[in-house]
Subunit: 321 residues, 2 copies
């Protein structure tokens, strides 16, 4: 059977899976990205993990290629450049280096753009020509589709919306030093920072007064909200406010039919979605009201990013080359 | 000879011209939009003016159609909706009404989108697949081209970047009530508002202490800057700062090869462009630095908008229909 290897390189985890032509992820696993600060070891680990998955699948497979989603990836250059949430800095020629280990057709793309391609091929955007996928993980990513095509930009770096300044040059710094940058507020990391901010701003009791920043996890914040922890509730409301405004702003750009949300922060469910819907609609221009859907990815959470990466290779199978 | 009527509906002026297949505007004129608050009279005036121009041209012409650029126009519905800088409010079915007077092929589009089409067909973007036209008139408009195609959006309202909130919901209100909206800062109107702001903030002498808001004109602000008026200089610097940040933000969206600027505010020349270049580059993400050009429209200032509108009809001449 034909199979594509999908690799999702995230700031926290590197997910690898084997994806068939229907977008089914047949095998998958992950390792911690930060366990491999040395690039050579990291690339070796991708090769080792891929081989293990193929062996585990236990079938005769024909590997069509490997698709990679990563933050700050340039599809045109085959590189990852200055990614703020990855350990290797400057320009990493990842396609070239990985092909030495795994000689096969290979493509890389901004992780959120890959996810958007996955939604078009396999997911909830099969019939849409204008939509935006938002990934809310360690950072904030966006994959923009307009006129039925992914927007890649002049040099392959379109969709870096996590670094849009929301505050006229005021506010928090992102990992890339952008003052007021969106992902400093709206991401798993942003939510943690907002917990700290709320602890500084208010004096109400909270379970988070006993938790260090580095020990904070998204699941705990959701749990705290469920228990009525005021700091957690305020943090979700604040995150949703910034995000609602951001998505309303983005609507004025390409007027998407829908925003498709995925990534760690969406696991917080209604605690983020309910205020998000409210703030989004309040900020939307009159001409857009009632026309823009906020939806979750229909692809299974754990494998959406892997399938998106694999879509990079599946996409080019249909085309004459 | 084949001719297209181009109509640019602006908050201040309505410009009409006759455009040939090379994008040459053979005849043109304008009337004041606000002189015709009644829609029936206004549409009659477009018909009258068009007829006058054709008569003035004094040649046997074959009119292929009429293209219209207007703020808040929906290309899909043929309407202008809730335009903050026009006198008629709510939804105006302009194509339907104008066709009653001028039965011919007719298309309408957001004025800045029409301008972008004009730049692709006739102007400085002939070889570009990814660029953004910015119109700086009474308002702030944007026409976005990506993958070689104009971005229209799900419902024909893409590119309303003048209503992007730059301030996390703080700041000035636009004509549509958007708090912190870009066009409240970056437009001919925005510059006037900033003169007022600077007069409130500083106590330095300025010629503008003797000028009422309604008597302020862009040319006078440029002239004052040339004479070293500190309030004028501060106003240009502030406008350029907000605009530089905005264009850097927009770059993260579609990564254009160039921004092409046109409209009244560009007549201020170096007073806006020099600080704009500085602020733009300072705010640009590392991956974009040195890759994005800021340029003026190469189309003649007075006719660029007319030619853009006419491009709506010229564009569909080449296509089989």
């Amino acid at each position: 059977m034909d199979i594509v290897i999908g690799v999702d390189i995230g700031g926290t985890k590197t997910k690898i899976g084997l994806v068939d032509q229907n977008g089914e992820c047949l095998e998958q696993t992950f390792f911690r990205t930060q366990d491999f600060p040395n690039l050579t070891n990291y690339l070796d680990q991708i090769k080792i993990t891929s081989d293990e998955l193929i062996q585990k699948l236990g079938k005769e497979v024909n590997i069509l290629g490997c698709g990679i989603g990563a933050p700050n990836a340039s599809s045109k250059n085959g590189t990852i450049e200055n990614a703020s949430n990855l350990v290797w800095k400057e320009s990493v020629p990842i396609i070239e280096k990985l092909k030495e280990r795994m000689p096969m057709p290979m493509r890389i793309m901004n992780d959120a753009s890959a996810a958007a391609l996955g939604e078009m091929l396999f997911g909830g955007a099969k019939n849409m020509t204008d939509f935006i996928v938002i990934t809310l993980g360690t950072g904030f990513g966006a994959g923009i589709v307009a006129n039925g095509k992914l927007i890649d930009g002049y040099d392959g770096f379109a969709g870096e919306l996590g670094h849009v300044d929301m505050t006229l040059g005021d506010g928090r710094l992102t990992g890339l030093g952008v003052r007021g940058g969106l992902e400093a507020y709206v991401s798993a990391t942003g939510l943690k920072r907002t917990i700290m901010y709320m602890l500084s701003k208010y004096m109400v009791e909270s379970r988070f007064r006993d938790v260090a920043y580095n020990d904070l996890h998204g699941e705990d914040i959701t749990k705290a909200a469920e228990e009525g922890d005021e700091i957690a509730l305020k943090a979700f409301d604040y995150t949703a406010r910034v995000m609602g405004l951001a998505l309303a702003n983005f609507t004025a750009f390409t007027q998407p039919e829908a925003f498709i949300l995925m990534g760690g922060l969406t696991n917080s469910g209604k605690w983020i979605m309910e205020p998000l819907e409210r703030y989004f609609n309040a900020n939307l221009l009159e001409v857009y009201k009632g026309k823009v859907k906020l939806m979750y990815s229909k692809m299974e959470g754990k494998t959406a990013a892997i399938c998106g990466a694999a879509a990079l290779i599946w996409e080019i199978q249909d085309k004459p080359s």
